[in-house]
Amino acid sequence: MRRLAHWLVRLYPRAWRERYGEEFHALLDDCPPDKLKIASIVTAALSMRLGAMARSPLGWGSAGAVTGASLLLMWAAITPARYVSHATILAQGSDRRQIMREVGAASQSALRRSELIGIMDRHGLFREERARMPAEDVVEKMRQSIRVSFGQPALVLVDFVYPDPMIAQRVTQDLQVALMSAAGGLTLLDPASLPTTPAWPNLLAVAGTGLIAGALLGAAGFLLRRKLAPAASNPKN
């Protein structure tokens, strides 16, 4: 029974144990804990721990971190996953500026409205959006899902983001073909990849962001509360 009492007392915060632990043990010697008393002790100890947390910036920060990570993970769970397909093209030529100019002009041609609508029709992209949004907005949305960038030494990188990995790959392939048709001197280095893991959600990044943002908000909330209601920590209230 003393062992049980020892573990029950350990449920309380350290500062409380140091002040009341000995006399609380004495009380438990006088009235050995049954189920009801154990429930009373566990509830009181947890409430005291939560109370101690509510009075410290660390407690607010921890609660904020857990809440932030949970909310972001829930949000990640209900938003559709997004996959990125990549293709790499090698631009031949010694003048990098000239290559960038040519590829820039070619990508403008490859991303023009009629070309993108053709790709959308071929692969059935953005069906829902096309049903409720003006064509210009859908074309803009597709442009935002495409990235054409330059890498060293003379690489052109084409990315396309979409919820379906196979469609992402097919569209990247179409974009890469359109780009290579519009500009000369381009050689395909890596064909459009089939993504196997989603770029979003990256659960580690999501949880990390939620933890940090939540901890900062929690600490800010603690400071704000202390400023607005300093009497809240007074036990008489």
């Binding site: 409380w16 009341y20 000995e22 006399e23 609380f24 043990h25 004495a26 009380l27 438990l28 010697d29 006088d30 009235c31 804990p33 009801l36 008393k37 429930a39 009373s40 002790i41 566990v42 509830t43 009181a44 100890a45 409430s47 005291m48 036990p235 008489k236």
Partner: protein, 95 residues
């Protein structure tokens, strides 16, 4: 009227007591058996508020006494309860 703080203050108003003696006394005069967690949760709050304080002892059982501030608080709490009781009785009669 089962607020542990008021029950403990009422018990200590009758004399200094340690935790177990308070539990027994409260059960006798109020018919409420406080659990050890509830009792010490309330003792902690009452001591923080300055309404009770520990009495010097060599025993492991720590007795407590009610302070002047605690007596004033208890009197105010009991007066509030009295007002409620009177109003309730009056309304019951006229119901």
């Amino acid at each position: 009227m089962t607020d542990p703080s008021v029950l403990i203050l009422s018990s200590l108003a009758g004399g200094d007591k340690h935790g177990y003696a308070m539990m027994e006394d409260i059960e006798q005069f109020a018919g409420v058996r406080l659990g050890p967690g509830t009792l010490y949760g309330a003792i902690t709050r009452l001591e923080e508020a300055g309404w009770i304080r520990p009495v010097k002892t060599k025993d492991r059982r720590q007795p407590y006494t009610i302070t002047a501030e605690g007596s004033t608080h208890l009197a105010a709490e009991l007066a509030a309860v009295e007002r409620i009781v009177k109003a309730g009785r009056r309304r019951l009669k006229s119901a």
